[in-house]
Symmetry: C2
Subunit: 465 residues, 2 copies
Amino acid sequence: MNAITLRLDSQAKEPLYEQIYQYIKSEITIGRYPYNTKLPSKRQLSAYLQCSQNTVQAAYDQLTAEGYIISKPKSGFYVCRLVGIISIKKESFVPQKQTDSKLKCKYDFSHQGVDLYSFPFPTWRRINKNVISEYDTDLLKTGDPQGDINLRYSIADYLHHSRGVNCSPDQIIISSGTEFLFLLLIQIFERDKIYAVENPGYEKLNLIFKSNGAEFRSIALDEYGMIPEELFKSNADIACVTPSHQFPTGVIMPINRRLQFLNWANEKAGRYIIEDDYDSEFKYSGRPIPCMQGIDGGEKVIYIGAFSKSLTPAVRISYMVLPEPLINIYKEKLSFYICPVPVMDQKVLCQFINEGHFERHLNRMRNIYKGKREALVTAIRSLLPFAQIFGANAGLHLILKVNNGMSEEELITSARKNGIRVYGISQYYFDNAPANRQPLLLLGFAALKLSEITEAVGLLKEAWG
Amino acid sequence: MNAITLRLDSQAKEPLYEQIYQYIKSEITIGRYPYNTKLPSKRQLSAYLQCSQNTVQAAYDQLTAEGYIISKPKSGFYVCRLVGIISIKKESFVPQKQTDSKLKCKYDFSHQGVDLYSFPFPTWRRINKNVISEYDTDLLKTGDPQGDINLRYSIADYLHHSRGVNCSPDQIIISSGTEFLFLLLIQIFERDKIYAVENPGYEKLNLIFKSNGAEFRSIALDEYGMIPEELFKSNADIACVTPSHQFPTGVIMPINRRLQFLNWANEKAGRYIIEDDYDSEFKYSGRPIPCMQGIDGGEKVIYIGAFSKSLTPAVRISYMVLPEPLINIYKEKLSFYICPVPVMDQKVLCQFINEGHFERHLNRMRNIYKGKREALVTAIRSLLPFAQIFGANAGLHLILKVNNGMSEEELITSARKNGIRVYGISQYYFDNAPANRQPLLLLGFAALKLSEITEAVGLLKEAWG
């Protein structure tokens, strides 16, 4: 074989055995040590490199385990045929941060996003460390299709105590984002079902229904949410609503209207309500109104929730509670879908809830968001006297009606020129927005710092005032 | 207010401030300290509890942050109204291990699963610790819909060097499991497309197509994979194949047949091939055959891969490479779907690949699985002389033809009675399996220990011999 040109560096970051391993691997891979080359014995190589025989042994073990060399008894180590060995060369490539055109503006009133400075990273890190365990073979297996049973127990507890949802863990399906839950629901229901969606409403719903060939009707809202009479005459079977905090208008559906919807659903077999409780954790005043699932007892309501607002949208964990007959259909037809949330992430979240960190985090965030909302309302009242605030004292966004003669588009553009991004409500209308509508803007405040809010509203005043 | 009955325990696991916090929180929650109750001053309470004022301060800060109490300047701390505060009481519930009826048998030749003793947990734990950082705001935002750009670069590198796939990171979509990729593909293609699936084949494909209302034809196989003539006369537009290691039969499609399929796809606009390369990392002998995507240059082939076999099925990361025209359709119609893989998990995997651990792990596992396959083949040849092995020297399973006069069902049942679970190939036929077919079994060996294999085959000999 060729001379060994390696010099060990005891100051290097890599341990000595790793340096030997890397050197020999590379010589084999580039063909300098061809098939069946005999390597020097451990004694020879350790003497030559002036290291211990154990160091050489560790390098040879590694090379053997990965299939580069083979030990022949009473003879020594030989280079293998490199059949099937995988070698990933790195292209020269500079790691990138996600590019984000939003960065170019100074302040962004996006409704997506959470507070960027209050996530309990040390706790999350500690729990991750606990969970990644060589003794837990669950981490090497496909998990339960409905999601980790312990996490489902924790979610059932949480929903029961904080939202009044009645369910057993067996009715819960854990998935990755609200969209994937809707993909499952479309498959659970017969293909001839018609869905009713709030107009304006969650902008992705119509895209999901369209791209899956599901029929839907958009139903107008009044000051209490979806208008029952419009639903009743729509021919729809399944009503998708956000009663806790309508998206985007921010209204809370009163109890008597909730009952009207539940009555409608009970009048006919096959009718259901999908209750999306997307940011219900954050309500800053007034008595809580029970969720529709809790009023109904879970016969006619599919309850949907997520950890996107309450923890971080990067965690991608959502869930739904299905009524008994629908969970049976799911089990029969759809349990072949593997739960898309990694088993490890489910265990981390479960421990996070069970150790009480989720409750604490929610209450802390509730106070922080309450403070941000108050600062925003105060700044708007003092700096934008020509604007009115709509939406309940809840959630992570509010609605602004600006009465200065500008159109929605003009408001957005002039704010943008002054470094502020605001969002018109028009994009949330599924058909065209009513022509005579006054301009309404959606202002999210979760991701802004408390200290930035007054300045951001000041810049809006300059743009619009 | 009521007397404070708390006694601090300096030996307890919880720090002192936490004990004060928990005590007062509980008194408030159960109503013993009603709204507007004034708490003792920090000086008073610290004197009474014999701890430092800083300890009381820390407890009061925590209670304030979570909205239980409020500080009134120059007056003191008062109990807040508990509007919206969330309290999760734990139901009495014993944590459960996933129940698994498979545990009841002694050895399980399931094709699902990986080696349970070789996952690099310490490395995975270290990288997780690195990635969970308070300075990385990506962890608090919705990520790129196609998946983390750095991970897509790493996957493109890997595919290029180890599989000969030609693609840019921009053509890659990261998702959670092969099923979700198929859900996207069904939405990318027009609804009138007809899919061709291998028969026998991946058992979930027909379920996915059926439950999404997509039309499909099942196409018979011969000893080289899907029969081209059967595909040609089927009227299908999109052929779903596993050329590297057909599932379940284990055959490798030869190059000339791959070219036949590519020619078929090129003959007509709208025709595509979906190449599922599910366990291509593991090939133990012979020269590698280039993947169809690489032969074609990426015009007509959608390439699908996953980390389920190469790392662990619990990690839930899969990907596909789309030809240019299809990625454009995706961007226009479907990029509203948020990538279902948590941002953190994507970053961990990216670092795992970039630091060279993935390459090492693959080569190590390849050697381990090669050893297990050899042990299984040896045991079968010596103990089951009436059985024949089919399937290429690759992957994590092989096919056994048992010529002892028993039917497939009898083979499975008698093995089961002797503590062994084996799987018949019939369940992978989409229509009824051909009536005159000889019994074929699918034997997965990845999750068995090397030392168990001979004994497991011995038990099969007792059952069948």
